[in-house]
Amino acid sequence: MNAAQINLNLRSQKEIDLVAPEQAVSALVDGEIDEALLDGLLAADGGRVDVLASWHAYQVIGDVLRNNRVVAGAQAPGDFLAGVRERLRSESAPVPQSARDERLFVKTPAAVLVREPAANDAVFRWKLVAGVASLAAVMAVSWTVLSGAPSGAGGMAGPQLAAAPVPTEAVVPVAVNAATTLSNSVVVNTGQGPLIRDARLEELLAEHRQNGGMSALQMPTGFIRNATYDAAGR
């Protein structure tokens, strides 16, 4: 062990820990400072030159170890900082653009994230109104379902039709039935039961029967074909 090592060892760990600002500077240079060290650093005497000198020295040490030379700077850090500090005196403190932006800085753990209370959370009247409205909605739906449903299986025919898959059975139009036809309507038998259609629409659909994917009136258009004639029997 040489003399330099002996000198280094004379400075005990406890003694070095007492020099908190410099240790905080060392951690800050590395981007590894924590809140407690930063508190200590900022709480240190603002007029201390040691912190600035230490920072500069640590940067120079890093330059030499990485590049074996000192990276040039335009001006010594103390002079530069003095210039900036002088100009900052006339500046008012910056403020966050908004409270929302300020929240972005807060690194809140995901587990701690909770929904903020609603603005009217404290007003009991709103909770009462919401409860009554929910109850009324449930009662209205129930009344509609129960009162509109005839006895037997036919009562649910409408919902079943809506929920049914695309019919695989061909829709076969029938001739106009005088007994069941209204003034301008026809009854069409489909795979899902009789369907009342406008007579002119039925006539139009029949005339525009498509051959080989081409409409009689238009250029081949797949979506038109699907819209006007989607039944295999037409």
Binding site: Q5, L8, A53, A57, V60, G73, A74, D79, V84, L104
Partner: protein, 213 residues
């Protein structure tokens, strides 16, 4: 040996912490940001502007503008990335006001745009380095010799810690894992190593106070 803090979460971004403190009214926190990024900003501007006096003015103006706009820093990008844009815009505005040669300016701007992701190796070749005086070059060599001599004199544990940090670029957590010691010990060893080395070079640095180098 306890390894209790090997798995500790990484510390929060120190720049964001400093921005927060500045916004909370602690101007010293902003001064830390100035000290931290002064050289990088100067090197960036030095690649666009050859006049070293102008580099200094623009760098100062950059930090003043950054201070004014600090409330707009959202923290979704690195602080230097944000500062870099301010520096480039400030330099551009200053040069336009001075009606400097736009061709030279644009070519330097183009190279300057790549700086955002470049490391210190690239920054070594910056324009400011070209303006070093023979005195400064000599002082730089002396400092380098002193640093290397101090490194050789360090105890093994300190030398290893600072080598892993400065040369290998490892984080404190990685060093703690490699050396099988707590992060607090790593922080302390690196600090002690730096203190030992800086004890030798501080007198040399003090002689340079007020000088460009």
């Amino acid at each position: 040996m306890t390894l209790e803090d090997h798995t500790a979460p990484p510390p929060p971004d120190s720049d964001v912490m400093l921005v927060q403190r500045t916004l909370a009214g602690e101007q010293r926190a902003f001064e830390m940001l100035v000290i931290k990024y002064q050289r990088r900003v100067e090197r960036l501007i030095g690649r666009m502007v050859r006049d070293t006096d102008l580099v200094q003015d623009i760098a100062q103006e950059t930090f003043i503008r950054a201070y004014r706009a600090l409330g707009q820093f959202r923290g979704d990008a690195q602080f230097y990335t944000w500062l870099y844009r301010i520096a480039v815009n400030t330099a551009k505005k200053q040069l336009m006001e001075l009606k400097r040669d736009p061709l030279v300016f644009q070519s330097q701007m183009k190279s300057g745009e790549d700086d955002e992701t470049s490391g210190p190796e690239r920054e070594l070749n910056s324009g400011v380095a070209d303006t070093e005086t023979p005195e400064a070059v000599l002082a730089s060599k002396e400092i380098a010799v002193a640093v290397n001599a101090a490194m050789d004199a360090l105890p093994e544990e300190l030398r290893m810690a600072i080598t892993l940090r400065e040369i290998e670029g490892m984080s404190y957590e990685e060093i703690a894992s490699a050396l099988e010691c707590p992060i607090g010990t790593v922080r302390s060893r690196i600090f002690r190593a730096r203190e030992a080395i800086s004890g030798r070079i501080k007198p040399m640095l003090e002689r340079q106070t007020g000088k460009r180098w």
